[in-house]
Subunit: 241 residues, 2 copies
DNA sequence: ATTCATAATTTGTCTAGACATCCGTATCTT
DNA sequence: AAGATACGGATGTCTAGACAAATTATGAAT
């Protein structure tokens, strides 16, 4: 056990940090993998648990590792996999990859449904809908801007619901939708507008993923039409077959 | 002593962090001021020293406080005062404001002295001089780019000396200059070139401070002519009268 | 007065232990 | 089968103490 050296002038926690860093970059630990528990690490390096914690904290600050109380420490994924399926949930997707989901409401307004919205929601053009604009975040880094359209008569309270819960799923639940499924998802690539590049903090020349989707309630009625722009640098769509 | 609340659901170190943050923003603690010692803070809040350290570490990560072993913790200055005087020393200036000086050698080359260089060093035009280009940093943030000219015959080893010590003063000492004084400093303002804006990570539209100076050795002989560009956003020249 | 060695002060690192909090799972209950 | 509860495992917080390392202050010798 000659992993780290005492009295070498380099503090133990820095040596542990470097050792873990090497193992991550060398592929011994893959992105998404769970690090050994603090107890295991302290046994392996023969140091106190607090010393291990100091090393892991340094890796967290570098953005290389994420830690969740009660679960453990995980190697960060370099790109976020965003699975598309029948039950696509923004927060769930991120949590599954050990990232902390977040989001903020940019604006919300009532407006008449235009062509693609009326087609997606299967309502006559001109029917009033609620539109909300969100910025989705993973570990406090913006990864998506999105517009969501809901029939006004059933979901007038969605904006307030989202502002309070930061979750579309929970906001829908407050409007009486216990569960919902995704009907369809269309994905294309394009370059961002100046506003999108600003919100996503992405270089204007880098492409974004343009995603349009429709969600249905339990009766099969369309309840949500969404247009989401993902930062192409940081997100990768995964369509499960 | 009802400063912080135990068992309130908010950890003690976060409450201490907030308290110190408020006092800094409220002006109780001014930029440059020394924070109370860890021992004093732990006595004031009636917590262990480690708990105080956790709070201070959070402030350091925010860039609001800097800590130096053996000296103490200090509220960060928003702009760096750069005193100009007989004994102007880059590293000393920064250390005096509780910032950690740094620098890197961009390039070095021998060339004949042109007009202003020969005038500054008081040598005939065409005399070979050593030119080195540096980027100066404070707390790892670049604050200046600079060109320095030295008579080649005496200071051929300056580039190596600087590369090893990251200090012009120490590099000069290796060339036999125990002490030196500043003869003259000229300061003007101008807009940066694209290259300078890149090196200083500054918006191209923001002005920079253009400083030209001459240093003398103990015999009064010019040994160094410098052209330094400071980031105008982050540095403020102070001429002591 | 300056220089040099020493002491005091202050932050950095490490250990040890206790309890809290959160998460996931297993189990019991209904 | 579904929900509530309990438990074990993992990270989070706090305390206490010891020694190391860097800086600054002190004082003695020249």
């Amino acid at each position: 056990m000659e992993e780290i050296e005492r009295g070498s002038g380099v503090s133990l926690w820095r040596q542990i940090e470097q050792t873990l860093l090497q193992e991550i970059s060398a592929g011994v630990l893959h992105p998404g993998d769970k690090l050994p528990t603090e107890q295991e690490l302290s046994a392996r390096f023969d140091v106190n648990r607090h010393t291990v914690r100091r090393a892991v904290a340094a890796l967290v600050q570098r953005g290389i590792v994420s830690v969740t109380q009660g679960r453990g420490s995980f190697v960060q994924e370099e790109v976020i996999d965003y699975p598309i399926g029948k039950r696509t949930r923004f927060s769930e997707n991120l949590k599954r990859q050990n990232r902390s989901p977040g989001g903020r409401l940019v604006r919300s307004e009532q407006r008449p449904a235009n062509g693609i919205v009326s087609k997606g929601l299967e309502i006559p053009p001109g029917t009033p809908v609620l539109m909300i604009e969100l910025v989705g975040e993973a570990d406090s880094v913006p990864i998506s801007t999105s517009l969501h359209f809901f029939p006004w008569d059933r979901f007038a309270g969605m904006a307030e619901g989202y502002a309070e819960t930061h979750s579309i799923t929970q906001a829908l639940a407050r409007c009486g939708v216990a569960d919902y499924t995704r009907k369809q998802t269309n994905i294309t690539a394009r370059l961002p507008s100046a506003e999108e590049a600003r919100l996503l903090r992405q270089m204007p020349g880098r492409p974004i993923l343009h995603v349009e989707s429709v969600n249905l309630d339990e009766t099969g009625t369309p309840i949500q039409f969404s247009i989401v722009s993902f930062a192409g640098d940081r997100v990768q769509m995964v369509v499960e077959n």
